[in-house]
């Protein structure tokens, strides 16, 4: 930079160098002397401004997923008020971690109107996550689930592919069909908000959250909350999940033409049954999805057996905020093979069953639902006297 050696009649000797030095000094002084904060917490106040700038056009001012673009978006933007988040590392039914939400915000959701915001300062993403968490009371009453560990990916062999094909046929084909999302249930599926929910076309290279085997593994094990896609962490072993991952990866660009896959007659390895005082059947047929009966009355200490009669996969999840106070712990203890808070295992095949014991619980009404078919009205209640 050249030397400025003279003053002007109106510039008062203003030096370019001194201007720049002043600006830089002020900037770095602010950086140096501002006390650090706990940035992992996020600030919902600042997050509100971030939300209003970047999110309202889809998710709406009130977080109800009803922004101006929502009618034209497929899939529809998330309604944050229920606290249901599809893409998590945590078990089916549970809340996601902040890291899960940050991953979705940073990377966006491929093939949807949700763009990536990785360019935003990480602090801004944490702030907006904190604000999103104000839309649902779940964030005040629950902790995020424990992330599911993704074990090291085993080698893919002909044997694991064959195993994956069989598992896929049993657990996935009713919705995903031959992998392209053309299963017999595909056109009838809706999500928790009543919107049509077409199963993913797995023959494409990219799923919404990535292209890696790890991404597919997590979607299989955690499921997609608020959709008919259940989490299989309670019903598949890690080895079985990887087998399905490898099979799904083999579908990319090579639709296998599985036209006539029949559901396996073998019962699920994880489903168990015990003697029960009351039995409730889980039914999905041309008349709809329902529990039969959908209301029973029992006494404290009795057990209720839930049986997948038809139209699975089904499961049972109790609303944490509509059971008597203090009952969550004994009820959780009385459930078998839970995959999340007050969330029973996924019953894949007809005949699969699970039992809930009401030993030590408080009298009252216990409302429950089937997570895959919540939007279809599959709910019920147990009155404990």
């Amino acid at each position: 930079m050249g030397r400025i050696s003279r003053s002007t009649s109106y510039g008062q000797g203003c030096s370019l160098r001194s201007d720049v030095l002043f600006a830089a000094t002020v900037g770095f002084a602010l950086m140096a002397f501002t006390p650090p904060r706990d940035e992992h917490a996020g600030d919902p106040g600042r997050g509100k401004a971030v939300y209003e700038r970047f999110c309202t056009q889809c998710h709406g001012v009130y977080g109800n997923g009803a922004g101006e673009v929502a009618p034209f978006a497929n899939p529809r933007p998330r309604d944050f008020r229920q606290g249901l988040f599809k893409f998590r590392s945590t078990p089916f039914g549970s809340l996601p971690t902040v890291t899960d939400l940050d991953r979705t915000i940073s990377n966006g959701l491929y093939g949807t109107v949700m763009p990536p915001f990785y360019a935003l300062n990480p602090r801004a993403r944490l702030d907006v996550i904190a604000y999103i968490q104000t839309f649902s009371p779940r964030w005040r009453n629950e902790q995020p689930g424990q992330p599911i560990t993704v074990p090291a990916e085993p080698a893919s062999t002909q044997g694991t592919l064959a195993s994956g094909r069989t598992l896929f046929a049993n657990a996935c084909s009713s919705c995903h069909g031959d992998g392209s999302g053309n299963g017999p249930l595909a056109k009838s599926l809706v999500d928790a908000w009543g919107n049509p929910d077409q199963p993913a076309d797995l023959t494409r290279r990219h799923i919404k959250t990535g292209v890696e085997g790890r991404d597919i593994y997590l979607r299989i094990m955690t499921g997609l909350n608020g959709t008919p896609m259940p989490g299989f962490s309670g019903s598949l072993s890690p080895e079985q999940a990887w087998d399905i991952v490898h099979y799904v990866e083999s579908l990319r660009g090579h639709p296998p033409g599985m036209d006539s896959i029949g559901m396996s007659a073998a019962p699920s390895a994880t489903a168990t049954s015990t003697r029960a005082d009351v039995t409730i059947e889980m039914v999905g047929d041309a008349s709809g999805y329902r529990f039969v009966p959908n209301s029973v009355t029992i006494r404290v200490g009795q057990t209720v057996r839930f049986v997948n009669k038809i139209g699975g996969p089904h499961n049972i999840t109790f609303w944490p905020d509509s059971i008597p106070g203090g009952a969550q712990r004994p009820l959780q203890a009385g459930m078998q093979n839970t995959s999340g808070p007050l969330t029973g295992p996924l019953l894949i095949n007809a005949g699969d069953a699970t039992t809930v014991s009401f030993v030590g619980v408080a009298p009252g009404t216990y409302k429950f639902y089937c997570m895959p078919h919540l939007a279809l009205g599959m709910r019920g209640q147990i009155i404990v006297q």
Partner: protein, 416 residues
Amino acid sequence: MTRLQRLLLALILFGVARPAYGIPAFARKYGLKCTACHEAWPLLNVVGRAFRDNGYRFNNGKDDAITTDPSYWPIFAWVEENYQYQYSKSERHTVTNVGEVGPGFVILGAMTSLSQHISFNIRPVVGFGSGGLFFDAAWLRYNRLFDTDALNLRLGQLDFDLPITTAGERDFTTVLPGNLRSLSYTVPGSRGLDLLANPTGVEVSGHDRGSTNRYSLMVYDNNGIGSGSHQLFNTPSVYGHVSHLFQIPAGFVRDVELGAFGTYATVAVGPDSAALKPQRRYGGTFDTWLASDALPLHLEAIAFQGRDDKALIAGATHDALYDGGDIQIDYVPALPFELFARYNLIRNVTQAVPGRTGSFADQDIYLFGIQHTVEFTSRFEWGWQVYYALERDRLQAPDGTNLTQHFIWAGLLLAF
């Protein structure tokens, strides 16, 4: 007002001014409001800059022509009309006192990415006053050469990859007369080298994820500024810009970006335009965003040095050397509103022509403005802007004394 004055005013207010709006076609394509990519329309935020650096793509599977709604067309329109008032005086008398409805313009342009590798921009401008037609920009971009963000190729009539607030598509205030920016300063008697104009050239650029590190290297033709020949690249010139963004993990300062830029331009001189003589501009930039990511106080400082070869200036015995720079503040207190202020200065270090006072043609410009985007949806936006500028030019009045100029500009803008 004489015809000459009117012509000069028209040249200043339209000929030098250039459009600088958001692209509602992008909003329609992605279902986003302008605020997703602009700090304030049209100053880009970090999301918008990353989108731009990716070749106007989010890479979310919804960019390519085949994945967009068949009814979508990447067409956008800008319409602008304004009122301008200019009052200038020397130390002895009034030089100009003009106020009139300015010559606005309309643009019907096309800009989008067609596939992972191809993006384009065509921006014809029609002036309301003159009815003239010219292309503000027309380029084709090949994204991700060798499948890496570090290599992108762009060719055609391009904008320079300038410091943030001065880039043509990023700063609402570039609709101002170009001579209200230090980067547009012309040494008296020399050829203009306006970095806010869009020359013909080829650019290689690259960036990392989030555009924290980015570079642009451009070879362009400085033709058309007094050159006798109009063959392509008969005045080869180069421009470069590198920058690094620091995302601060805690505290009042949110982000800081440091950058360096420079150009070595040539001008053909002599009877047969055979000799090429250089003009140089080298400098650095400092940007910081304070207090908030969504509603930041954005401060930018630019400092540079300019040098024009003595062969470009009649009667010169030395190269003309000057320092320039500006400090600009953009603040968005609430989303529809933006306040902005800028101070520009030029200080001549070496006068090219003997006998000129050392401070001859020194310049100070103060500018204050407000912008209100009345409506901004994922389909269109419209708003208004008012600014006041005070310019002081040392010894530049017709009578040889100091020249003081006042500008008031008020405009309506619609982008669809």
